[in-house]
Symmetry: C2
Subunit: 446 residues, 2 copies
């Protein structure tokens, strides 16, 4: 007998099927016993009514991998569970076999939520990910990556695979991981930034989903030491607005499509569907600061950036005034941005840069780039970056680099905000930070 | 006027359009001048007949980024160039403007091929990638990644994003890059292997395209220090054959679809369309060795693996006898495979492992895995791997790990063989090996 997935039981009412999956909750009532079986397609109730099957079910532990043979039955009206997609049916088992026995789980996995602190969940990540609610975070994440690629393809971008080992630090700053590369010094890239730019003269428009490494010696709810970036870079732009149009298209398409596809997951996380406007509100940093000042009374005239409270406030404004969960902020100060950011020709103190905010958080950053070779070298020197370490990068600017720019989404950050999680670590399967690589360093030292 | 892509000129005959792109060859004949313009969609001839335009074209250098305004003309029959997709038309320019001036290119980019040695091409990678033939390698590569994902989705796999920084070396061996991780020792993963296994109890079936790092201190035509792997892992398998069926499905689907989509590129590289059989021939290592021995007279009875000559020979056999460019080899010696490989229960000297060979090269490797926690620890100890460094990995085996297995394609290797390139570096945008990170180390020391 070949295997049937739980979700396909609905099409097999009255038929005998074989299921594989994991036991979640087990409930034994003497002469009858039940358990919920989870497979990759969903959760279904298994019932046992004969003595041998009741005995087999009663012997199950949470997370045992099992094989079930049984007949799909439509439940009586009064027993239908409307809270679950397969609540109309159950499988009356004729055979329940353990495929792989589980040890006792360190915490109860049967509830609706995992009522534990994040550090505990991360200490037991290989277990906590199996929780039916936790794993849905990563179904949403997979959907975001797919929708990002779909949107990038609509922009006619070519997918590129770029290196993560480089000879110079991407942004030229500190906070890089150094590696011993056959006796030479090399670094893990802080982003695919330089390589995607280098490929504009080759493919004009490129995208990549790539790793970004930041050795930031701080612990916040929004930073990871190893993150996943979704990057796009576009050449032959005719104006700064071309870039704003592109980023807003990708950002809204991706989030809207995933929210529609996974409406049930958003509901389970108690999250509203995002407000996606036809036109994303755009503000310069200065305009945004004025609005925040007016709304809060705080003086921001000396600030060079929006702090997290300001980001939250300007998003509140966009939601209230523009019915939008998105807002684009442009023209950040040139000195706050990396060497490749193009200063605004009208006022070089500010730059042709932007962030996309979504529900109070920056989920994207980018800019138009300096595309003239000589100007780029000047900018590097102003920023204290040594051009000698960027020979292959600079070469790309010598042979017809067109006006260009791009942007980058943090996949974990977008996931976090789509589901309104409180910590970006919840949106990373195996998060990396200064305290742990899977296991906590303090624990390992014991 | 908004931009038109070169390929859309065919739908704009008689109309005035604006083009952006790069000048390839420039030919000036006094009163008339021509150049080929490349944009992301193709190559089109631009003609100039008025004195000012002839002057502008004559002043162009190879690789200048240009803007052209002109009228699309159907060429006279005798001038039609049948060797190029846009050979039926040309654009009679009324305006040619340089958007970004190129320096003199270090070698001629106008020919059909780049008649230079690979080290020279890599020394100038940011230029050589712009060659219209070289960049097509990476259009094929993008297609392979897309078709891999499509096939993985048909197998109902969930996409996962797993870390590349780990606390233990994946295979437990040498050849790993070590990093200083906030004062702790960490490694770059040799493959996404362990993490994809850890996620089988979560999603059952997973896929990822991820980086793999190997600090192999050798230079061959088939190894990279940083490679891109396309990985799949499948749980609740009912037999070893389930895995063989899955890998052959993905391998043949991916290569067949890309070869059909990019038939023109294969032709340009002088490569035949691959022979894709309905049933991929399967041989155990021992069977393959006997066939090779018989065909070549070489005695392989003491060999534990196929060497590159053997791989070539067995592929020749598959092509001649089975009309197949693919052949699956199974049951490699247990001692030649990593600790997670399941020994064959019928003969533990051999393992439930496999390689997929394509046109003489191994493009995939994998196995059924040891899924029992206690047995896995035994296998680690036999292989000299310390279980203490794999705490999070081992945790996944305690809570109902079903029978499972998987496989991994090397994206650069598949690209290399689909286009019959002679060196895997040609199939990597910016290849990493022990001699270079973009620039050669020897050159940098100067």
């Amino acid at each position: 007998m070949s295997r049937t997935l739980a979700k396909d039981s609905l099409e097999n009412i009255g038929k005998k099927i074989k299921l594989f999956g994991w036991a979640i909750t087990v409930r034994s009532h003497g002469k009858i016993a039940f358990f919920d079986l989870r497979d990759r397609s969903g959760i279904i109730q298994i019932g046992g009514f004969s003595p041998s099957v009741v005995e087999a079910i009663s012997a199950l532990s949470q997370q045992d991998a099992v094989e079930v043979i049984g007949t799909v039955k439509k439940r009586e009206e009064k027993y239908i569970n409307k809270n679950t997609p397969l609540g109309e049916v159950e499988v009356e088992a004729s055979e329940v076999k353990i495929v792989s026995k589980a040890e006792e789980v360190p915490f109860d996995m049967g509830g609706k939520d995992l009522p534990l602190e994040l550090p505990t969940l991360l200490d037991h990540r290989s277990v906590s990910l199996k929780h039916p609610k936790v794993l849905k975070i990563f179904q949403v994440q997979a959907g975001l990556a797919e929708e990002f690629r779909n949107a990038a393809k609509k922009l006619d971008c070519t997918e590129i695979f770029v290196p993560t080992i480089a000879s110079g630090a991407t942004e030229g700053g500190a906070d890089v991981f150094e590696i011993d590369y056959y006796g030479n010094k090399a670094f893990l890239t802080q982003s695919p930034q330089l390589y995607k730019q280098m490929l504009v003269p080759v493919f004009e428009r490129v995208f990549t989903i790539a790793k970004a490494y930041r050795a930031e010696p701080s612990v916040t709810t929004r930073h990871l030491s190893e993150a996943t970036q979704m990057d796009i870079e576009i050449g032959f732009i005719e104006s700064f607005e071309d870039l704003l149009n592109a980023l807003e298209f990708v950002g809204t398409e991706m989030i809207k499509n995933v929210s529609e596809k996974h409406e049930d997951i958003l509901k389970e996380f108690g999250v509203e569907k995002p407000l996606v406007p036809n036109v994303v509100p755009r503000l310069t940093l200065r305009e945004a600061q004025k609005i925040v000042s007016k709304r809060t009374g705080r003086d921001l005239s000396e600030e060079l950036d929006l702090n997290p409270d300001d980001e939250a406030e300007i998003c509140k404004w966009a939601k209230e005034e523009k019915k939008s969960d998105f807002v684009t902020i442009t023209h950040f100060p040139t000195k706050k941005r990396a060497f490749y950011t193009m200063p605004d020709p009208k006022d070089s103190e500010y730059s042709l840069s932007y962030d996309l905010l979504f529900r109070g958080l920056e989920i994207l950053s980018g800019s138009q780039r300096v595309h003239e070779h000589a100007r780029l070298i000047e900018r590097m020197k102003e920023k204290g970056v040594d051009p000698k370490n960027f020979g292959m990068y600079l070469m790309a600017f010598k042979y017809g680099m067109p006006p260009e720019g791009g942007f980058s989404f943090g996949l974990e950050r977008v996931t976090m905000k789509v589901l309104e999680l409180s910590n970006v670590r919840e949106a990373s399967l195996y998060p990396r930070d200064m305290e742990r690589v899977d296991e906590r360093f303090s624990k390992k030292e014991k």
